[in-house]
Symmetry: C2
Subunit: 179 residues, 2 copies
């Protein structure tokens, strides 16, 4: 029976989080493309181009990260990406803002939670004293529950701020926690 | 007595609101410079340069306006400026965002209210269906009262999101109304 339980050493995989670099852009775009195609969680037009989305995701004020999985015999595979940036400039730059995307094929592996937990630690390390999300789609209950489980609280609701592809006008939450 | 009540025709002034153009940039910068110097209402670092602030105020996604006063004998004087833009891209671009500044020397003339009322009409005309302010400093009670008087409601409070120059950590409000 053990053959069915123990996977061969060669396909044991490791998930790691690291800063993104230029070589990750194609993989990050694939994730963004698949995530925004749904029109159900992010405001970006599903028809947004690779150029405009990468310019947005990698804009200079952001620290961008990727979550990758690598086995000893395979190339690294990018499963998710997120960024951190000040939510406001100047006298408001102590509050962090972040956005996260997981490749649809990697859902259910806990990648979102890994990124979320890591990002709070990283935001603290970068000197931020709070985290704020400006636009969490209310119907995205998996995300809302994940954020609540790491201590983010709903501090405001924007009525019908999101034109959900299938549900129509949908509320968005503003979420916040101290770090 | 009439001489004390009626002002000479030559200094009767008219306030008007129009789209800003390149020739307004120096005047707009003077207003921004004076407003952010206080460190009490806007997040921008009081030491921000003319270049970075004009790049921000006139960034491509914004419709920028000025309020001016002109008499028959004098050049037009810019008393205030504001802009409108989508608060989110794509599937969230039906909610408008705006920012307003009044030259300190023009306070008390109702310029803020004129801009506020005009901006709601203009946002409707541009096709927006709601207005959202993301960061109204809670201690700026004159502004909060003005926004409330034109129907904006506080829909969220961000704890200590603003490092007020004299009051220290200060809450910021998120305000919203339908159009």
């Amino acid at each position: 029976m053990s053959a069915f339980i123990l996977r061969p050493r060669s396909i044991i995989s490791m998930v790691k989080i690291r800063r993104a670099n230029d070589a990750d852009q194609d993989a990050v775009w694939e994730i963004i493309r698949e995530v925004i195609a749904g029109g159900d969680t992010y405001v970006f037009d599903p028809g947004s181009s690779k150029e405009e989305m990468l310019e947005y995701w990698f804009s200079p004020e952001k620290s961008v990260y990727v979550v990758s999985e690598a086995s000893s015999h395979e190339n690294e595979v990018i499963l998710g990406t997120f960024w951190l940036k000040p939510n406001q400039p100047g006298l408001g730059d102590h509050v962090c803002n972040a956005a996260y995307m997981v490749a649809p094929a990697a859902h259910g592996k806990g990648i979102g939670r890994k990124m979320a937990e890591f990002s709070l630690e990283e935001a603290r390390r970068l000197g931020f004293t709070a985290m704020q999300f400006n636009f969490v789609v209310a119907s995205n209950t998996a995300a809302v529950r994940l954020w609540q489980s790491i201590g983010m609280e709903i501090i405001g609701t924007i009525p019908k701020a999101f034109r959900h592809k299938t549900l129509g006008p949908t509320d968005a939450y503003i979420m916040y926690r101290k770090l």
